[in-house]
């Protein structure tokens, strides 16, 4: 085996910087077509250097394919991938300053933990890896496990080895392909914080693929929500959550009540919508349609609920005539299903402040919300898009 030439694959260190000196990851018109379907459709995306970026979407939305194209494990049908000013679209995977944490970890079963972690450095012809490996194992708190084989470790430990094995190479971009998917809930929460801590510490660009919206919101600076090969919306977690632009984002990221309405038009910086007899107004920057039919959206925790006839602390119209069909108590909040006069069931979350006891099933209720929390979407979209049936 000694005839194998080592160190041939070192990625060139002095990469050209972008026009502004940055090493942003830029995907331009990236497309991947298979014989029977298109996995990724003309994707345009910029991931700023040093950011924790999440690609969020249901399985089959093209997020993993996108990741694999950045890693060089899949070849795009068209489009380009740039790191700073360097094009890496067709570069071999071992020539890109990009490393991946695989979904099932893909640790080398015949090598011990230290050897697994040193693998990347050794392939680049770096001789004395001992200190770096020790430092990296300390970072992921596995120093005492250095001589174990991967199969002797728990899922969470293997996950950290996979992370260390990628991080030690100080890649410009670290790709994480659902790295926490195989862990149980408690461990997953712990690892989310750990990952975020490490990312802040090392300051690398992380691109994290996941279908877990909570995970994406907890960790990412920016989330791109992907659906059927395209990006539906991109932005900071709070921005996506508070002001979704499509029904898919409204439903996939948290839950939404979408009520059919007739848009009456703009009025100053608000858009007026006629909803089941009442008129609601939506702030202009939250209205993503201004004519025809629309979906008026409101998050369940933004809906205020009270027994019929009692006052509600909201400036907008109060909608009457609903009754409670289901109550579930989840500790911090109570979740109600309320049947409205027009035959639609709305979801309402009320925080358990203790101000009022739980409303039993059958109670007649009024609901309302503050207009600034509503959003307005084009009614040509499926109101059920992005709802996961599980």
């Amino acid at each position: 085996m000694s005839q194998v030439h080592e160190g041939a694959a070192a990625p060139s260190g002095a990469h050209a910087r972008g026009a502004d000196g940055s090493r942003d990851l830029r995907l331009t018109g990236l497309t991947k077509e298979y014989a029977t379907f298109t996995a990724v459709k003309s994707l345009d995306l910029v991931v700023p250097q040093g950011e924790f970026f999440a690609l969020l979407g249901p399985s089959g939305c093209g997020k993993t394919t996108t990741l694999r194209m950045v890693a060089g494990l899949d070849t795009p049908t068209s489009g380009t991938i740039h790191l700073g000013d360097t094009e890496i679209t067709f570069e071999k995977p071992y020539r890109r300053p990009v490393n991946t944490v695989f979904q099932n970890y893909a640790l080398f079963p015949h090598l011990n933990i230290a050897k697994n972690v040193a693998f990347g450095l050794e392939r680049r012809g770096i001789k004395n890896t001992r200190q770096q490996v020790a430092d990296m194992l300390e970072l992921v708190e596995l120093t005492s496990q250095a001589h174990k084989k991967p199969t002797q470790m728990s899922g969470g430990q293997q996950q950290r080895v996979a992370l260390a094995r990628a991080l030690i190479n100080k890649p410009e971009v670290l790709l994480l392909d659902e790295p926490l998917g195989a862990l149980d809930l408690k461990l997953r929460r712990g690892m989310q914080l750990e990952l975020k801590r490490i990312q802040t510490e090392v300051g690398l660009t992380f691109v994290h693929v996941t279908h877990d919206q909570e995970e994406a919101m907890t960790m990412a600076d920016t989330i791109a929500v992907m659906n059927q090969g395209v990006i539906e919306q991109m932005g900071a977690p709070s921005e996506l959550y508070e002001n979704p632009r499509t029904t898919f984002v409204a439903n996939f990221l948290g839950q939404s009540n979408l009520i059919a309405g007739e848009i009456e038009g703009r009025d100053g910086d608000h858009v007026k919508v006629r909803v089941q007899g009442a008129v609601a107004s939506v702030p202009g920057d939250r209205a993503h349609s201004d004519s025809g039919k629309g979906w008026l959206g409101i998050r369940p925790e933004k809906v205020l609920i009270a027994e019929a006839g009692t006052p509600i602390d909201a400036p907008g119209d109060v909608i009457t005539g609903g009754y409670v069909t289901d109550v579930s108590f989840v500790g911090v909040s109570t979740q109600y299903s309320v049947m409205m006069p027009w035959g639609q069931e709305l979801t309402v979350f009320e925080q358990n402040t203790g101000a009022r006891s739980m409303l039993p099933v059958g109670t007649k209720v009024d609901i309302s919300w503050r207009p600034e929390f509503a959003f307005l979407l084009d009614a040509s979209q499926d109101a059920k898009a992005g709802i996961e049936d599980d």
């Binding site: 085996m1 194998v4 030439h5 080592e6 041939a8 694959a9 070192a10 990625p11 890693a71 060089g72 494990l73 071999k92 995977p93 071992y94 990009v98 490393n99 991946t100 695989f102 099932n104 893909a106 640790l107 080398f108 079963p109 015949h110 011990n112 693998f119 990347g120 392939r123 680049r124 001589h147 174990k148 084989k149 094995r165 990628a166 190479n169």
Partner: protein, 272 residues
């Protein structure tokens, strides 16, 4: 009553297990015992006469032709193992890793030599050799060709099983970690498939060494060890045959044990 029943319940499985073990090992024990039998005073070879080291210590006094037959069998088994393992490993890689026309047909066909009766394979090979004009040259090379042929299926099947069990994410991970295609193969793929290749080689050696039917049909004037034993059996098996039998048994056990010891020592070294 219940106590007796419980006693039976607790010991029945153990007892049956010991019986099965005995069933397997008694014949081997007889072979070992007979390899120390002094048969010089009696023609009745199936009776233990007297303990002696002579069978082991004096190969020169072995029955005529036996040492030659053992040497021939070893040479053929070694060559057949090397060629079949090399070809079979390459074929297994092709069958697992590449999509090509006729791949599924090829996957099916490699089972045929394992599934068809040896007597059919042996006679059809003989027919092939004769009709190709090698009827007069039957011997070492025709035996070797025949052995490579039937070992090949076993090698392909063994290596294929190992290779398909291999997670191809591992190779992608290696490439992602700056290993070139060649480094990926030698550092990751090959070490992980190696146990399968070694297993296939050991299997080939033993298959080749003890084959009788196919060999007998294609051997011409040559006599391999199994053919010698078969021939000698007409007059009474000489005790030296048991020496070879015992030696083969001890060597196989030693290989298996050695493998296990090395594995445990590595694990211990890693754990330290």
């Amino acid at each position: 009553m219940t106590r007796a029943r419980r006693w039976i319940g607790e010991h029945l499985v153990l007892g049956l297990g010991l019986l099965v073990l005995a069933y397997t090992f008694v014949p081997i024990a007889i072979v070992v015992l007979m390899s120390f039998n002094d048969s010089s005073t009696s023609r009745n070879v199936y009776k233990f006469q007297k303990f002696t080291w002579d069978n082991w210590l004096h190969p020169g006094s072995w029955a005529d032709g036996m040492a030659d037959s053992v040497w021939l069998s070893i040479r053929i088994a070694l060559l057949a193992t090397v060629v079949a393992t090399a070809l079979g490993t390459l074929a297994a890689f092709a069958l697992v890793r590449h999509r090509f026309a006729g791949r599924s047909a090829a996957n099916l066909i490699i089972f045929l030599p394992m599934a068809s009766p040896e007597i059919v394979m042996g006679s059809s090979l003989l027919a092939l050799f004769v009709s190709a004009g090698f009827g007069g040259q039957l011997g070492f090379w025709t035996i070797l060709i025949a052995h490579i042929m039937f070992c090949l299926s076993f090698v392909i099947v063994t290596v294929k099983a190992r290779l398909s069990g291999l997670n191809d994410n591992l190779e992608q991970a290696a490439m992602d970690l700056y290993a070139t295609e060649a480094q990926t193969f030698w550092r990751v793929t090959f070490p992980l498939v190696l146990p399968g290749i070694v297993g296939a080689a050991l299997l080939s050696f033993s298959l080749s060494f003890d084959d009788f039917i196919i060999t007998n049909l294609n051997a011409g004037q040559e006599v391999t060890f199994p053919m010698f034993v078969y021939g000698a059996n007409q007059r009474g098996v000489p005790m030296e045959v048991n020496v070879i039998g015992t030696a083969m048994f001890v060597i196989s056990i030693a290989v298996v044990l050695g493998n296990e010891i090395v594995r445990r020592r590595q694990e211990k070294a890693l754990a330290a």
